[in-house]
Symmetry: C2
Subunit: 218 residues, 2 copies
């Protein structure tokens, strides 16, 4: 079984610190919700986010959506060979039940995430407060591979033969737009691999490493 963890994903409700910012109030009002019930979104709350710690790393639900779809569209996921966890910047973990299809429409994805992050129950998405370390321990992973531009450049055949001999392997990819993994995440990675000399978006990295996994394990 392969486990995919989107780490420190830029997916969270608007933090209290900026509930009273004009752009936040405006977007909450347009949805008829309280600021605490809407997703932080750089495309709407850019200037307010400048006040947040790690502001440049947060508030990109569109990126997380795109990454999730890149995973859930793969044969490995569709056949139940792969499990997906979304670990977020604020240490919530969304565990996606096997083979669950998440909404392809961004509007519906946004609504679903606002719902589960606000504490409403959804049978197929379990949300827990959990650090990255606790998540890795709960999976019981035998090998944890991080993919990042800051890792060692390696061809798929090479990393596959060196690191993919264990039963429970976790692939960790950052669910954020820029910057590297935090120390909490780095501490859990057995190896960090760069799949290309260029920086690539999260969904591109996921599409490629899952394809590599499928074609090389045969």
């Amino acid at each position: 079984m392969l486990y995919i963890v989107l780490a420190e994903s830029a997916l969270e409700l608007v933090p209290q610190q900026i509930w009273n910012e004009r752009s936040v109030l405006a977007s909450a009002k347009s949805k008829g919700k309280h600021p605490s019930q809407i997703l932080l979104d750089r495309s709407l709350h850019h200037s307010a986010m400048l006040r947040l710690k790690d502001g440049l790393k947060r508030g990109r639900p569109d990126l997380v959506h795109q990454a999730v779809l890149a995973v859930t569209g793969t044969p490995a996921y569709l056949t139940g060979d792969l499990r997906l966890y979304i670990h977020t910047y604020v240490n919530l973990v969304i565990e996606v039940a096997e083979k669950t299809r998440l909404p392809k429409s961004y509007f519906r994805f946004q609504g679903l995430m606002e719902k589960v992050l606000s504490g409403q129950k959804e049978e197929l998405l379990k949300v827990r407060e959990m650090s990255f370390k606790e998540l890795i321990e709960s999976i019981g992973a035998e090998m944890v591979i991080g993919f990042s531009r800051r890792g060692v450049l390696m061809k798929p055949e090479e990393w596959f033969s060196r690191y993919m001999q264990r039963d429970k392997t976790v692939f960790v990819v950052g669910g954020f737009p820029r910057g590297g993994f935090s120390q909490d995440v780095l501490d859990q990675l057995k190896v960090i691999i760069a799949i290309h000399e260029m920086p690539l978006e999260t969904h591109v990295v996921l599409a490629r490493v899952i394809y590599d996994y499928e074609r090389l394990r045969r």
Copy 2:
């Protein structure tokens, strides 16, 4: 140079036939636009679309967005080795200028598409009325490969060595959610290849064949 054509893409403005449908009027009103200026969208206009010819194949701008991002995030695209054309169901072709980054936010993508399909000029996106055949002729393609579940199942090494020896190759992938290519498209394809025994979403097929192209041409 590799050319990617999203064929018969489910991206169009609401057709006149359903301008007066309630769901269409409602979504136009909420955006302060006329029904002729908004995208046809199954997630909003489902019941109205039942009246349209090929209704099940149309009105999926979210699918087209996802597919476009799967292309524009690849190293081949980012380095200018690959060009993207969006051919739509109604025979408009959007030619994307080299290396152009399209919006990652769905809202912004939607706004941009509404703008260019309504005839407003955008320097980096040239919109022309053009059949699929005319598009292939204008590219001057030497080889046109279609990817579809209905094609011949083939491994990447096999299709690459058999068909990728020409300078100007076009990859054609359907930009629609279900059904096969129309006869107009089929007539232009030299070969149709299935990359997997399962049906796969457009963005997954694109991510894989572009990756295959990059890794096998070395």
